[in-house]
Amino acid sequence: MTHILKINNLSKHFGGLKAVSGISFGIEECKISGLIGPNGSGKTTTLNMISGLLTPTAGEIYFKDTNIVGKKMAEINRMGIARTFQQIRLFPELTCFQNVLAARHTREGEAWWHPIVMPKKSEAEAKKSRQKSLEILDFVGIYEHRNTQAKNLSYGNQRKLEIARALATEPKLLLLDEPVAGMNPTESEGIVSLLKKLRADGLTAILVEHTMNVVMNICDDIVVLDMGQIIAEGKPAEILANQRVIDAYLGKRGGKGDA
């Protein structure tokens, strides 16, 4: 098994707070890996470091054998890592179609002055992008909302649009930060089947999620974080049986399910 992403001794400190301290793990290709843990365990921080939004205090992140630490978010995205956000970040005034089309832009080698001096050539290029954008909207299942402004979409569809926009950059690795948070069961079912479809198409994903049945349902591997450290790694069944995980994550309160 090849690791598409390798994390080596990664740390992030915010002043005295050690959000993530010295974690190492690998992500296998064409699999969905879950990153779980109680609130404040450093999952989103880890995701932010991989996507380049935060610079690690120490450690390396190898994406396809290239160390991406210190690179800008846009650069990392162009290398093939796309992400969604815990707090949805769309372009609210733009339509769904425009949201996705904007993401296609970076995949075309067109200089900024082309549309001014050679509009015909530029238009031909744009046509391909528009076609591709519509295909992606269709794939994700929000084609009929293509002309709706992003701010007017339902919550579930906003999540889908965020995934669509990330997919439009043709990533090798997709980082999903709580994609089903706050969704009703039908909506979250839609996201789960979408992710399964993507995996079948050969996409690798890292999923940060709290909803246990979703994680256990679609993740191939799971990494459990607590207080910025890895406390367990393995298949969903192993994780469920791990006493440390139960203590730290599911809690000693005896709560089960959404912890």
């Binding site: 996507s51 939004l53 800008k72 978010m73 846009a74 650069e75 995205n77 162009r78 796309a82 992400r83 956000f85 970040r89 769309l90 372009f91 609210p92 005034e93 733009l94 339509t95 179609f97 425009q98 089309l101 904007a102 993401a103 296609r104 832009h105 970076t106 995949r107 075309e108 067109e110 900024w112 082309h114 549309p115 001014i116 509009p119 530029s122 238009e123 744009a126 046509k127 992008s129 528009r130 519509l134 269709d138 084609y143 009929e144 293509r146 002309n147 402004q149 926009r165 990330a166 439009a168 950059t169």
Partner: protein
């Protein structure tokens, strides 16, 4: 035939605008020509603000700085170095663009009102330099007798000549900016306005595009300033006070963000209104203030909202059939 029809369909608003300007012009009175030419200058100026504030979301309160740099550069080049006036205007725009590049870098670190204040400060620095650097700018005395444009020996000195020239310049700039902003670049500008982090997450080099917006905007404002100098034939630091930035900002707000027809409309309405309301003297400022408040309260999209030419069309296909297919609501 088909091509003409398509052209008319695409640019009907602009053609309408031209007709609107033509009415007073056809009356042939030199005063009307002068007002119409000022309209053209302010159209350029307002487009420059819209590009950076309306599309890219970077608040600029000091656009007059580039207007001043364009005006002084072009004047000095034409008078001290005998550069042909049209070339001097272009060079004036380019020099303003260089300053746009310089202001673009700090702009990467600032946003919102902080950037606004920084640009305001920059405009004030430019004005102070024009006051103090007497050897170059003659300071508060100003520079009189600025040469008029000369196209292959044909000196432009009539009202109609100036009007035709500004119309030509405005058309070129308008079409270029229209093509740019309706393309994916326009869409990229809008994504930066909407959410910078999200824009970066889809691989957009926001630093590059922000600076690009500043440079292009400064270039256009510089050209506007240069034209103004060779039109009025006299400039002094009092032409470039901050009130000028706010006037243009009012035109931009009246026109509506991210809409070029809106900017044209806003510039024309306020230029004509300030002439028509001359009898109110100082009280005109009250009119601007009330107008701005009314727009922000009741019609935040400005003229573009009334004309329905707002940014939702950016990035959409030009081809009508493809557009209809895309816009068709309902089934998959």
């Amino acid at each position: 035939m088909d091509k003409t029809k398509k052209f008319i369909k695409e640019y009907y608003l602009q053609i309408f605008g031209l007709l609107l300007i033509s009415i007073p012009v056809l009356k042939g009175n030199s005063y009307y020509y002068q007002v119409a030419t000022m309209c053209g200058i302010y159209c350029l100026f307002t487009i420059s603000v819209n590009l950076v504030t309306g599309f890219t979301g970077q608040l600029t309160l000091g656009q007059v700085a580039f207007y001043a740099i364009g005006a002084y550069s072009s004047t000095i080049l034409a008078m001290k170095f005998s550069v042909p006036v049209l070339l001097a205007m272009v060079l004036g725009g380019l020099i303003a663009a260089v300053f746009g590049l310089l202001i673009g870098f700090p702009a990467l670190r600032l946003s919102g009102v902080y950037l606004g204040i920084a640009t305001l400060g920059f405009a004030e620095i430019v004005r102070q330099v024009s006051l103090i650097w007497v050897n170059l700018t003659r300071g508060p005395l100003g520079i009189p007798g600025i040469p008029r444009p000369n196209i292959f020996g044909l000196v432009i000195d009539t009202g109609f000549g100036y009007f035709a020239l500004i119309l030509a310049i405005l058309s070129i700039v308008y079409i270029a900016v229209d093509r740019l902003t309706k393309s994916k670049i326009g869409l990229v500008f809008l994504t930066i306005r909407e959410d910078e982090t999200a824009a970066e997450s889809i691989g957009i080099n926001i630093a590059f595009y922000k600076i690009l917006a500043f440079v292009l905007s400064a270039f256009i404002a510089g050209i506007a300033g240069a034209f103004m100098a060779h039109f009025i034939t006299y400039i002094s630091p009092s032409n470039f006070i901050s009130a000028e930035s706010f006037l243009v900002l009012s035109m931009y707000v009246l026109g509506g963000p991210a809409s070029l027809p809106g900017s044209i409309g806003g510039a024309i309405v306020l230029t004509v209104a300030s002439e028509a309301l001359r009898f109110l003297q100082g009280y005109r400022q009250i009119f601007y203030g009330v107008l701005l408040i009314a727009i922000i309260l009741f019609k935040p999209e400005g003229i573009s909202g009334i004309l329905k030419t707002n940014k939702i069309t950016v990035g959409l296909p030009k081809n009508k059939e493809e557009l209809n297919l895309l816009l068709k609501e309902g089934k998959n």
